[in-house]
């Protein structure tokens, strides 16, 4: 049984390697996007987790990488598998929560935008959320974030009392549509 565990570890390593290659593609796309007059948060700059901006201001726009994952069926499907693999399911279950908070309601402690969810997964949060930065490739974190957001989509919450904050629309750019993006679902033939 342990050999199965090791096998899955090896598989994860393989996934990571493949994802690293894809990540390189993703980076070049980001650079392309930067050439299109979009005001970008520098890569790695955290999203804000408040709506208060002293002296005026607003939430910085999400990293444009977000748009290729948010609502993308392939990313969500990949994210669901990773969510199980990396034991997210052990704390948050299939959205109800348990050890960690519910992900299927309209309460977002650290923000419900996909880039905020990305930050939560990557950086961890003080009340028990571990930090996965450096443990998972960035694209896998985006995929998990896409799945987490999908758990609270109106159809998932059966039109609950409130709503998950909508993802801001992408600005008019020549960003490729999600469908045209390379498949990020690889190495997940578990």
């Amino acid at each position: 049984m342990f050999s199965r565990f090791l096998t899955s570890r090896r598989r994860a390593a393989l996934t990571a390697a493949i994802c690293a290659m894809l990540f390189a593609i993703g980076t070049s796309e980001t650079l392309r996007a930067q050439g299109t007059n979009v005001a970008l948060a520098p890569r790695g700059q955290p999203s804000a987790e408040t709506t208060l901006f002293p002296g005026g201001g607003a939430m910085p726009p999400p990293n444009p990488v977000a748009w290729k994952y948010d609502g993308n069926a392939h990313a969500i499907a990949a994210g669901k598998r990773l969510y199980d693999w990396y034991n997210c399911v052990g704390c948050h279950f299939h959205g109800a929560g348990g050890i960690g908070p519910s992900l299927a309601d309209d309460v977002w402690i650290y923000g419900g935008r996909i880039d905020q969810i990305y930050d939560t997964i990557a950086r961890g949060r003080p009340n028990g959320m571990p930090s996965w930065q450096g443990k998972l490739p960035e694209n896998e974190i985006w995929e998990i974030a896409a799945y987490v957001r999908s758990l609270s989509a109106p159809e998932a919450t059966h039109g609950g009392s409130g709503e998950t904050p909508p993802q801001p629309s992408p600005p008019p750019t020549e960003l490729p549509s999600p469908q045209a993006m390379p498949q990020t679902v690889t190495g997940l033939d578990k």
């Binding site: 565990f5 994860a12 279950f93 109800a96 929560g97 309601d105 003080p126 009340n127 028990g128």
Partner: protein, 599 residues
């Protein structure tokens, strides 16, 4: 010294007591483990025999109707308040769930004002490695000191008079998934502490700390080689399958014992005459049984150990190769009672697997195992080998959902402790009546994250009521009465010489029932669901009082304390599925309630 009673006293409460003169010795806790009651309550289980019985009788079946709230005190916390209030030298001590505040209340003054408080500041990240709410089950008082654990693996000793910290010992590491939720027990100058984390691939242990310094005197692991388990030449298990070298290694796939669970987060009893402590170990991990073929020793096992050295004397495994999360950590109550006409020193243990085990506490021989709750996962216990007879239809597996397994992962009962009354000879068991669907899934071990591998959905058991309180006669091996509660009963029980049994419900009712019949005599609606442990004590004013913490949470109340989403029944390890209505019935918030009679 054994009291006597008319045979059939219990059953007679339903009919007329027989006038027959036949007498028999009554189950009685050993006096050294349950000394004469001085009206204080220094450890959660009341005494080393763990009877949770008070000899006070001012509050009784006649007077209880006048019981009223004397004072209350806010805990300033929202998680499940599972602790027992502790009373010593005119002061009441309460530890809250995370962040584990400790309050000392002066019982000699009106309204019991705050004498001191201690704020231990556990690491907030520890909340991420607590499987079933961030609970704490109580402090222990001994030799002028208060001992308690914090969720982030520290044991503290405080001066009981001032609240000044005497020592602080780090005994575990949250980064490996370890946490502390249990109440320590102090035996012969040693503070006994065990870890939690059976859902995180933790390796279980019980540790003895020097009462005066906090230094580790010994540590007994629940898995691994004999030298780690403190199995030596004194170890004489009753059953042959438990004899052999390094069974804590050999009954696992290579290396799996290192992350195999067997945590020690429940209750410990102590027999001073035999100089033995008794406790049970938790479930093997992960829950997906296909990942750990073998008996998985020494998980779900009762150990008898020498408290001075930790050396194991005997062990008995309730659930070899457990497939249903049936931890063995539930309370162990010590009594001496006649078995087939001969007095035996026994322990009683209502296990998660719904069997009430009666075991010879000298030898570890199984005397009886009878179901007190819903059960189909097992078809009995082989009295020759001591091994359970597993029902193959309820064996869990990867790739299939096995339906209607009884009891649930949370058990016929969980940690919520029973009370034993030497007056009635009955064990009062607060428990659950629930079943579950279970699907094993492959899971990866990643240190510090859950290591479970099962999708579980719980549901009400036969009859539809989710909770029960059973008065069990250990001699006839049958229930004398049973109260059906709609919600799972997750509070401890208290029995008193006033002929009463107290317990609380998940929607906040604190109840007193007749110990002989189960008839409801009094109830009071507290502010939140009750998952605490009621106690009775003699106040400095000379009068009996009863205390309990209100504050829903724990595994059963997690849907409220954790604000979980009822639309996913797998939440909180399947508990959400069976408590969907709880948010409509109670709200979170911890509060101490103390009750007394008008005088």
């Amino acid at each position: 010294m054994n009291r006597i009673r008319a045979i059939g006293l219990g059953a007679a409460m339903l009919a007329m007591a027989p006038a027959g003169l036949a007498v028999a010795a009554m189950p009685t806790p050993p006096e050294a483990a349950a000394p004469k009651d001085d009206g204080q309550w220094r450890m959660p289980a009341k005494n080393y025999a763990a009877t949770r019985f008070s000899h006070l009788d001012e509050i009784n079946t006649d007077t209880v109707k006048n019981l009223h709230a004397d004072f209350t005190f806010s805990l300033a916390t929202k998680a499940g308040a599972e602790a027992a209030p502790i009373v010593a030298n005119g002061t009441m001590y309460v530890v809250t769930p995370y962040p584990n505040y400790v309050y000392a209340l002066d019982l000699t003054k009106p309204g019991a004002p705050l004498k001191w408080e201690f704020i231990p500041k556990p690491a907030p990240a520890s909340q991420g490695v607590a499987c079933c709410d961030v609970v704490n089950r109580g402090v222990a008082f001994d030799d002028g000191k208060i001992f308690f654990n914090t969720l982030d693996d520290h044991t503290f000793a405080l001066d009981a008079a001032t609240g000044k910290m005497l020592w602080n010992a780090k005994v575990g590491d949250i980064s490996t998934g370890e946490s502390l939720t249990m109440a320590p027990l102090v035996v012969k100058g040693k503070v006994l502490v065990g870890n939690s984390g059976g859902e995180f691939g933790v390796r279980g242990w019980l540790t003895a700390l020097d009462e005066n310094t906090g230094k580790i005197a010994w540590r007994a692991y629940s898995t691994g080689p004999d030298k780690d388990v403190l199995i030596g030449s004194d170890f004489h298990p009753f059953y042959p399958q438990d004899r052999g070298k390094d069974l804590g290694v050999a009954t696992w796939p290579p290396g799996a014992w290192k992350i195999g669970g067997g945590t020690v987060w429940g209750w410990i009893a102590y027999d001073p005459d035999l100089n033995l402590i008794y406790y049970g170990t938790g479930n093997p991990g992960p829950w997906n049984q296909e990942q750990r073929p073998g008996d998985n020793l020494w998980t779900t096992t009762i150990f008898a150990r020498d408290p001075d050295t930790g050396a194991a004397k005997w062990a008995y495994q309730m659930n070899p190769h457990d497939e249903h999360d049936y931890d063995g950590v539930n309370e162990i109550v010590l009594v001496d009672m006649p078995v087939n006409g001969k007095m035996r020193k026994v322990l009683m243990h209502p296990d998660r697997n719904s069997y009430l085990y009666v075991i010879d506490r000298i030898t570890g021989e199984l005397i009886s195992a009878d179901a007190y709750g819903p059960l189909n996962a097992l078809n009995g216990v082989d009295m020759k080998t001591g091994r359970p007879i597993v029902n193959p239809a309820k064996t869990t597996k990867v790739g299939a959902v096995v339906h209607d397994i009884c009891p649930t992962a949370s058990g016929g009962k969980d940690w919520q402790p029973s009370a034993f009354s030497p007056q009635t000879g009955l064990l009062y068991i607060p428990h659950e009546n629930m079943c579950m669907d279970w699907e094993d899934v492959q899971t990866n071990y990643i240190e510090g994250t859950p290591y479970v591998g099962a999708n579980v959905v719980m549901k009400p058991g036969p009859g539809g009521n989710r909770g029960e309180v059973t008065a069990w006669d250990p001699e006839t091996r049958k229930p004398v009465w049973q109260i059906k509660e709609d919600l799972p009963v997750w509070s401890g029980a208290l029995a008193t010489a006033g002929g009463l049994v107290f317990y609380g419900t998940l929607d906040g009712w604190f109840k007193a029932v007749d110990a002989k019949t189960g008839k409801l005599e009094w109830q009071f609606k507290t502010g939140s669901g009750i998952v605490g442990q009621p106690i009775a004590f003699k106040s400095p004013d000379g009068h009996e009082k009863v205390a309990v913490l209100s504050g829903v949470g724990g595994w059963a109340g997690a849907i409220v304390s954790g604000n979980l989403n009822p639309q996913d029944p797998t939440g909180a390890l399947g508990m959400v599925g069976v408590t969907k209505d709880l948010k409509q019935r109670t709200t979170a918030g911890g509060m101490l309630y103390v009750f007394s009679l008008p005088h």
